[in-house]
Symmetry: C2
């Protein structure tokens, strides 16, 4: 069946495995997050590396988001191709061809009152983007953020003094060619998002905020304005917001949620989000019913780690099943359910992926369902525009 | 840059991250495996779920393979679309639309002296494929294998008596409509492939062979011929071959190899294979050189678990670097290298994926390089035809 033929048909018509969005739940998540940002007077720039869909990025922007983040220039290109006019690459880029692509995209969007912006953490990175702007960005200016490492231990310079030479290098390009502008600080603590207790997350971000304040003060003391601090994720954004130092939130997972975020202790300061992303799977092998409860009793579904990412844990089964089935990994194409009252051959099993971002990356399309997973029907097919956009 | 523009260009022109095949190493692997099968008079039916490429499937068949295996009907369709005429779905299929697709493909290939065949482990599975053959397979017959569970604890009926009702059900369709044929037993012990010691792998397959022999004898005693036993993987195939019971090998990973298979103790009875699949990555963030050897010193490459699967462990770094760098997971888009004499910003780092099959699934293309990873150039672009073929 052609995918578009599914539109208007009941959920039962969806072949398995398939990536399904509960559109009602997604819409509530979208509104909750935007309401939070609006109420607190902070900009929302959702991370589109999560859904990888220009259509969903545009919906987030229509609701009030200033633009989206991505991690890769090819993701930025996919967003721009889909009509998104404000994209921030919250990551380092060293290769010159990639920098040239960003300069071209920024030049194009500048003409539409939009922009592509970029994070840096090295003098070489600044030199490369400046070189690309000189040949590909004529007449436009790129906003550049200096990334500081606030606990992720990945990219970014250490908070404090190390940021200053980068700010100065950007400022030099700003004053000579006008091709770059120092736009502020990138400060994202990824690890803090999944600290399980709300108190741990709050404490981690308190440290982050101190590091950001110290770095910001130091840059300002050197005579440079710090227009914006951008960062935060779905696990901690209320704390970055409360700090008064951050001006922009980059949360992405809130839109779909996943099993990993659901394992966090709820934080009374944050709005709660619902699972909106599911894998529809089918039982395609089943041990004999004559041995219920036997140690080896299992139901095998047709969704393995080629259907969902397992970097942040295995999927859980949808609460709507009202069952205690435990999913274990059966390889690329299989999942093995154990528990009581296991589903039978041919039955549908809904899985909640452990981690939404790389799960979406495994699919070419998401099937948007309206009216719930049981009674609902397919309302729209949402293309994963930036699927496999690795470069 | 357009991908096809890369053909003829040096390895340095490949943007990162990218999936690269060392064509020289791959060719040696291909020949070693086919020579083994030919020498031992056993059929080779490589698992195309590994490379997902019709082009590579055809090369394996040109070298002597009888056809290929896949796990999913949509993978079979991708292979057939690419010109492969003999495809075995070594997995269960319950959904009727999927069975109808298989019946259509088989009918089409039958006219070309080819076939699509299928594994079953339930009466419902037999009923569904028979139903599909009745409406979509007119005039053709499908080979059906009964899967027995020889230690994987996933699909398949237990060895022995449980296989008989399935054989009988297939035989009934064979005698009434002629739409199905009992083609033999599917017996694959996936877990045995990665038992680290050669002795453990040998012992595991010795048990498998006993289970297969017992089941085969029981079916034959009931009056049914067992034309073929098919199974085995890249970790154990010499043992299945030596058993005299298996008539067909399904090994797939031998063509590319991966870090997980490389961690196995070499088995003197098996030919050895070389790493032929690599991720080209680039250092895009680097802690300051002023603190070499500091606890936090790291080089961050632009390849994370969106570039390579991590279900069977993280990638290792290519031996050709002559370095002791250890890769740790930095998320979807980042990998973090620690060790001595770490590479510098902008340097190329070659990674060996932990598991080849799902790694290939993350890429739309593989770049075939001739002449080595350092001095070589791009010879061909190999499309991943069955990428994301989940259904």
């Amino acid at each position: 069946m052609n995918l578009t033929d599914l539109v208007g048909r009941p959920v039962a018509a969806i072949d398995t495995p398939a990536l399904v969005i509960d559109l009602d739940a997604m819409q509530r998540n979208l509104e909750r997050m935007q309401s939070f940002a609006t109420q607190h007077g902070i900009r929302l720039r959702p991370h589109a590396k999560m859904h990888k869909s220009a259509l969903l990025a545009l919906r987030q922007m229509q609701a009030g988001a200033v633009g989206v983040c991505v991690q890769k220039p090819s993701e930025a290109a996919a967003m721009v191709a889909g009509g998104v006019t404000n994209v921030y690459v919250s990551n380092q880029v060293i290769s010159l061809p990639k920098c040239e692509l960003l300069a071209q995209l920024n030049r194009r969007l500048t003409a539409q009152n939009g922009q592509v912006s970029l994070a840096v953490d090295s003098l070489l990175g600044i030199q490369r983007i400046a070189q690309a702007m000189a040949t590909q960005g004529a007449g436009s200016c790129m906003d550049v953020y200096v990334e500081i490492d606030v606990g992720q231990a990945r990219c970014g310079v250490p908070p404090g003094q190390a940021a200053l030479p980068l700010v100065q290098a950007i400022a030099q390009h700003a004053s000579t060619s006008g091709s770059l502008r120092f736009a502020g600080l990138q400060a994202y603590h990824g690890r803090a998002q999944h600290l399980r207790s709300a108190a741990e997350r709050r404490a981690a971000i308190a440290q982050v905020v101190m590091d950001v304040q110290r770095t910001k003060a130091l840059i300002e003391a050197a005579g440079f304005a710090v227009p914006l601090v951008t960062g935060a994720g779905s696990g901690t954004f209320s704390h970055e917001t409360a700090s008064g130092v951050y001006g922009e939130l980059q949360a992405g997972s809130y839109l779909f949620m996943d099993a990993d975020y659901a394992a966090n202790e709820a934080d009374p300061q944050q709005p709660q989000f619902e699972h909106a992303l599911f894998i529809k799977s089918q039982v395609m092998s089943r041990t004999a019913r004559s041995t219920p409860g036997a140690a080896d009793e299992r139901a095998v579904v047709d969704a393995g780690h080629k259907s969902h990412a397992i970097d942040s844990g295995l999927p859980t089964t949808w609460a709507g099943h009202g069952a205690d089935w435990v999913y274990s990994n059966g390889g690329d194409e299989h999942g093995i359910l154990r528990g009581t009252a296991l589903p039978e051959l041919g039955d549908t099993v809904w899985l909640v992926p452990g981690h939404c971002d790389p799960t979406v990356n495994l699919h070419s399309h998401m099937l948007g369902v309206r009216g719930g997973l049981v009674q609902g029907s397919v309302e729209e097919i949402i293309r994963v525009d930036a699927r496999g956009a690795l470069t």
